[in-house]
């Protein structure tokens, strides 16, 4: 305490340097590095990896996972999880596909319909989780079954045939690109960027992190926790709807009931590879986009290298361990430094 007398009289000091944690996390930089290395390696070892004909479809295939990943990242930041997104995608897809075939709706209507359907399912999840106050993983295991039932009922044991090219705007074909860039990917990037900005710079966005850190304390601080949590699931639902449009567009002219199946694990894998903490309170949508891109790169890469395609899952598993392990080690180093 005696040193205090030596201090100059207090003048308002503004901390120099950063006002916020740095805009990109270490995890994101590492992912960019890993993806770059993979791309270069694949460019050297395969005939056509780094060509438009290969990269464009890769980006298109990345889009739906990354897009739902944005919602999933927010959900996981709040300390929740949503394992029903695969089933919700199925419901959104079949409703939209049926409308396209039977009502011959226009593109905007189809998109609205898909998004609305997804949003409704997200709303159900959100209401149950926020107001039923139960752990998200249990509720969404339950609703995943309910959504599957709903989807199968709408399919009515039939595939939807002859889907018109209305959604080709999001597809792999020429109509799906502007300046060589696939629309589905551009939209995903735009939404990711918007979510990144929102999460980082607005009060509402920061509240998601607070809720994930300690929901009780967040409530005491005046954060409307239940509404925020509800919002996270609704947003995920809306994005699931849009991703369903992407899925229809990149599929064939028929839609069968396997659509969306298993996508929840792919999305969660992308999110955790992206450095979002499954415990909540920390995460980044940018990382999720990179995570989805990495997984798709591995899957495509394995096929293009002519390796057994069954091995791609093994690599995904290894990447999850490496990516999260790196994050763990960095967190540990950080903890050592600060303590």
């Amino acid at each position: 305490m005696s040193t205090q007398t030596l201090q100059p009289p207090a003048a308002p000091v503004t901390p120099r340097g950063r006002v916020l944690p740095s805009p990109v996390t270490g995890q994101e930089l590492i992912l960019v590095g890993v993806i770059a290395v993979l791309w270069v390696a694949l460019a050297l070892t395969t005939p056509a990896f780094l060509t438009a004909g290969s990269l464009q479809p890769l980006l298109v295939a990345t889009a739906p996972i990354a897009l739902v990943g944005v919602g999933m990242t927010i959900v996981i930041i709040t300390g929740g999880i949503d394992v029903s997104v695969g089933a919700a995608m199925m419901v959104s897809s079949v409703i939209t596909a049926k409308a396209l075939v039977e009502q011959e709706v226009a593109l905007p209507v189809a998109v609205l319909l898909a998004v609305a359907a997804g949003g409704l399912l997200g709303l159900l999840n959100g209401l149950l989780i926020a107001y039923g106050r139960v752990h998200a993983i249990i509720i969404t295991f339950g609703t995943a079954n309910l959504f599957l039932f709903l989807g199968l009922q709408i399919f009515g044991s039939r595939t939807v045939n002859g889907i018109p090219a209305t959604l080709a705007f999001f597809g792999r074909g020429q109509e799906g690109r502007t300046l060589g860039l696939p629309h589905a990917f551009l939209i995903t990037v735009a939404i990711t960027a918007a979510a990144w900005w929102y999460l980082r710079h607005t009060a509402g966005g920061r509240h998601f992190f607070a809720i994930g850190g300690d929901p009780h304390a967040a409530r005491l601080a005046g954060v409307r926790v239940q509404r925020r949590v509800l919002l996270a699931y609704v947003v995920t639902g809306l994005l699931v709807g849009l991703a369903a449009c992407f899925l229809i567009a990149q599929g064939t002219s028929t839609l069968d009931q396997s659509v969306g199946s298993g996508k929840e694990l792919a999305v969660i894998a992308a999110v955790v590879i992206g450095g979002t903490s499954i415990m909540g309170g920390r995460g980044s949508v940018l990382g999720t986009l990179l995570g989805a891109l990495l997984v798709q790169t591995v899957t495509s890469g394995v096929t293009q290298l002519g390796w057994k395609s069954q091995l791609s899952d093994l690599f995904v598993g290894v990447f999850i361990i490496v990516a999260v392990g790196a994050d763990l080690l960095r967190a540990r180093a950080r903890a050592r430094r600060t303590s």
Partner: protein, 543 residues
Amino acid sequence: MEALRAVTAARSAREEGTTVTVNETPAAPATAPPAAADTPRLRLTGIAKRFGAVRAIRNADMTVQAGRVHALVGENGAGKSTMIKIVSGVEAADAGRIEFDGAEVAIATTTDAMALGIATVYQEPQLFAELTVAENIFLGRELRKGPRVDWAAQNAHVVELLELLGLPARYATADVGSLSIAEQQQVSIAKALSGDATVLILDEPSAILTDAEIEVLFGVVRRLTATGVAVIYISHRLDELFRIADEVTVMRDGETIGTYPMADLSVRQIAELMVGGVLSDERPHREVPAGPPVLELRGLTRDGRFHDVDLGVRSGEIVALYGLVGSGVSEIAACVYGIDRATGGELLLNGRPVAPRSPREAQRLGIALLPANRKVEGMFTFQSIAFNISAGHLKLLSRLGVFLDRARERTVAVDLIKRLAVKTPHERQPIGAMSGGNAQKVVLARQLVRRPDVLVLAEPTQGVDVGAKEEIHRIITELAEGGTAVLVVTSDLPEALRIADRIQVVRGGTTTREFGPDATQVDVLAAAAGSADDQPHDKEAAA
């Protein structure tokens, strides 16, 4: 920010390093006149609240005047925290009436309370480890620039608040998770100060603060009251109330017993009102056996935490390791118990050097430790008392080391419940439903299943009420009498003086001076605060 500015203006006075005494007049002029004396800022009448079968508050009344510091005391579980949670909108009262500046108000949510200017520092810090200090402070009330948060403005305000509390400005952008518990507590206080408070509620803020930090806090509180803010102050450290509070409301068993001017009471009288009986505070006189130390630290060092710690505890002796929070005392205990590892020096047990690498190893060596943070480090909340006692001695209570001997477990638990006078119908009661003092006794009981050679007690009575404190002290003395070497790590000086045969003072990460049982509070505090011109404040001077 009105109140804040007044406070900031007075900061320089504090920084001159002068002693703040209760008689000191505010250095800065009050910018806001206190509210008219006849309309209280806050009046609570007939408050009742139950949690399931627990009647936390039966019938409570309290009247808090603007510009005054109103202490709220009571034993553990008396209902203090519940009272302030009702005022803060965390819990809704089942019955009763709340008036604010003379008008009845409904406080259903924390937002309602904040709108009235009721700012609360809760007993448990309510912070977010992954967010920065500035974000934590403004969470829920962010300053905005268009749709986005105005980071620069927030940071500027936060820097002022940090200065006020004596924390470095760079903390504004540090993650809260990287701060110590005491620093986090101060962030909570800064958070409460950041708004336009009309009522500031502090629920046991001093429990984990050092005396110097408490002094800073008191300075802030005085500035605030000078501007007309009403302060409700909860603490188990009754002596400090005399230096800060104007009146005191005593609670017992969910009821308010009465409100009294501080000047009319002594510590003993308050304590007696709290427990509803008469207390004795005679220091039991004991003969300390001579002999070689059982536990000895020789130049024990852990880089960055403490260094060159020398200490010896003989069989049957109670030694207090006293230091302000942050001085390294708690880290020394963690090292003895194998939670952390020493990087230098020696730890000797019965003259033999040892280096426990885990609590388990320490236990095997005959060292037991009562952790400081009961909830986090001590309790298995929804498990039974017996479960809580037997944890950590499972091999001992098993047949063949594999199959749990439940009959023996029960006998051991029932035995210890009786010995420590734990208030409970049976040993199957979940510990989570018990009051703090009783829960603490259960956690202590765990350390006594096997009579330890060395018992380390970290803050054995933190947040424990007077009655239970008394009993825990009795148990500690009994243990020593039975031959255990007891090391009490505490930042509660009266406690150290009361039970210890010797007091070792830790300052700046190392042991400095040793005192015998006849030391005065003044001497020990001076040694701990570490500067001759730092005049200690002892109880007599304050009262």
